[in-house]
Amino acid sequence: MDLSLLGQYVLNGLMLGTIYAMVAVGFTLFFGVLDVIKFSHGDVLMVGAFTGLVAYLGLSALGVQSNALLTLGVMLSAVLLIALLGAALARWLVLPLRGAPPINLLLITLMAGTVLREAIRLFYPAGANPKPFPRLLPADSVSFGALTLRFDSAILIALGLASIVAVHLLVTRTRLGLAIRAVAQDSETAQVVGMNFQRIVLVTFAIGSALAALAGVTAGLYYNEINFGMGLLLGVIGFSAAVVGGLGNLYGAILGGFLFAGLQTLGAVWFAVPAYKDVFAFAVVILVMTWRPTGLIAEQSAERV
């Protein structure tokens, strides 16, 4: 196939991978501090997208015209509210179940996700149907042969990567990040040296969820359509990406995200029936897990006996 077409595929993969990575980073953060998988993550993302939509409707009702302002408002409100939502979930669902078998935690967060999803479907006006998401970014594009590069896609990719880098810097360079890593290393000791364990956990969940909200808005701005089910698959894929990359490791999450996007694109190109691409992607995931049982970038610590 010619180069421009190949370029198009790469571009698609990049966009997809960025969104996946944003979700995966959240999973990996939560796992880092609390060794938990928060399965409501995908649906939190979905709620984030809807929050953004509501914010847009509100702002334009208030007569805000400028797309830049609207975009900013949408993103800010989504990020802030969802950060709160994430912290709330952590405070009232996750923390109370520490010590319970991990499967309970998995189940309770899954159920929390279902509650969010069903709530949107039932209580958002005509929520069972897809909702149009406003086109706020410059839609013009340049084409080289089969390759169409749209500015909004480019902006979104840049934005997504930037947000991931920001989180990474936050975790590696700031005092807060230090605290988070300390708790991740060994929560007992961290508590002994007088860190407020609960606060740090909540902050971490807030950050991860905010990132998910951003991913939700990104998806909205990219696909210009959101729906109550959008978080379902994104959640599972984000989780897979985080695990394949190696839980608790930011680079792993990013790697996993782009890997999964690559697999799907590849699958869609290879198979006569593109629907096989998920079968393909998940099969590869199982194989990778068999090959590297703790993910591509394995956790360092050997088990303490």
Binding site: L16, A128, N129, P130, K131, E225, V273
Partner: protein, 385 residues
């Protein structure tokens, strides 16, 4: 669990009915459709429409019976479908049913209706086998099959001089069936399919598929599936610069499709069995009444059929009384029955044989019947071959 204004309406209706004619004999009907899950929008639309039919009938003083609608959720899963179908059929107080949007579920349940002798009218499932794979006197269908739809579609589109199609269909029974029949008839009419793409019903991203399609340079993208997917695919076609006519099926003839796409919807084509509701007097009434009830969800593509089916059943009961066997043979006899979706006449397999298919095109944010659109009289042009 119904919205407040609706509950109010209900009370009034009941009061009216009660006041008008002392105590009428109560007759139970069952509605079955997907009230939860991905396609619940259609299920809820159908449920509301059937509910509306019952309401209006109860408000009508001339009605001989007072009708109660029992709505059951089949979750679009065959096993649940069999479960609720058994519940309804084995409940002797239920006389007839308006059942199923999902073809898989309908296929799984027809045996149950046959075994228990519950006459049902299918309101949304489009798979031909539901009526044609067996000869069950209990099973009727007001909506046409995908066969009629795609026959017309293929002939019409080739008539517009298009030659190259790319097909995207979801991998549910609905999408796969449409793909099958459209391909058949398109071949008969000399159109060419340059690529076929099956996609899963919950898929979000289609960039890979559409990039492939872009490379195949089709004139028309045929989509076999329902609104949510249609909206996503049409949007992403635009993103990736796929310049082709978007031709859908009955599954996208919904307000949600237009709401979901805004201006992008302009020029999308779709085909649906039955007469154009808006043009029939009954249809107008239906839409007005429906909006008057302030339901949470729009009627969607098949709400009108559920409405028609419910009325068909109730008319039969009015005529022969609440007796399954009698109602069944009465329904079997249906000829030239005037409904909101046009004339209904059942063939020997109790399939609505009226082959009337309406062609729709989106113009200025509304689904317009092709013949009265500016596209038909040349004021506007679709993307030309």
């Amino acid at each position: 669990m119904l919205p407040r204004p609706l509950r109010a309406a209900l009370c009034c209706a009941l009061l009216l009915a009660a006041g008008a004619v002392g105590a009428k004999e109560a007759v139970k009907l069952v509605f079955i459709g997907p009230l939860t899950g991905g396609v619940s929008a259609n299920g809820l639309g159908g449920r509301n429409a059937a509910d509306l039919a019952v309401r209006l009938r109860n408000a009508d003083a001339k009605a001989r019976y007072r009708y109660e609608l029992v709505a059951l959720d089949d979750e679009c899963k065959p096993n649940i479908g069999v479960q609720v179908a058994t519940k309804a059929s084995s409940d002797r107080s239920i006389v007839a049913g308006v059942t199923h949007y999902c073809s898989t579920v309908a296929m799984a349940t027809v045996d149950v209706y046959h075994r228990f002798g519950l006459p049902v009218v299918v309101w949304g499932a489009v798979l031909p086998d539901i009526t044609y794979a067996h000869d069950y006197a209990e099973v009727h269908r007001v909506n046409g099959t995908m066969i009629n739809q795609n026959e017309t579609a293929a002939r019409f589109m080739t008539g517009l001089k298009y030659q190259r199609w790319a097909v995207i269909h979801d991998t549910t029974d609905y999408g796969k069936g449409h793909n099958k029949y459209f391909s058949e008839y398109l071949a008969k009419n000399g159109g060419r399919i340059v690529g076929t793409f099956g996609v899963t019903a919950d898929q979000q991203d289609f960039s890979a598929e559409l990039t492939k399609i872009k490379d195949l340079k089709p004139e028309v993208v045929y989509f076999g599936g329902i609104t949510p997917l249609g909206v996503r695919i049409r949007t992403q076609m635009d993103k990736l610069g796929v310049k082709a006519v978007f031709q859908g099926t009955s599954g996208i003839v919904s307000d949600a499709y237009i709401e979901g796409l805004g201006p992008l919807a302009e020029g999308s084509l779709a085909f649906r069995e039955g007469a154009p509701i808006e043009k029939l007097p009954g249809g107008k009434l239906f839409l007005e009444q429906y909006n008057a009830q302030k339901y949470n969800d729009p009627p969607e593509a098949y709400g009108a059929f559920a409405f028609a089916a419910a009325n068909l059943v109730m008319d039969a009961i009015e005529k022969v009384g609440p007796d399954r066997k009698k109602v069944r043979s009465e329904l079997n006899r249906t000829r030239d029955y005037q409904s909101v979706v046009g004339t209904i006449t059942f063939d020997d397999r109790r399939q609505n044989a009226v082959p009337l298919i309406t062609k729709f095109v989106v113009q200025d944010g509304r689904w317009i019947v092709w013949e009265d659109s500016e596209y038909a009289n040349g004021k506007r042009k679709l993307i030309q071959p």
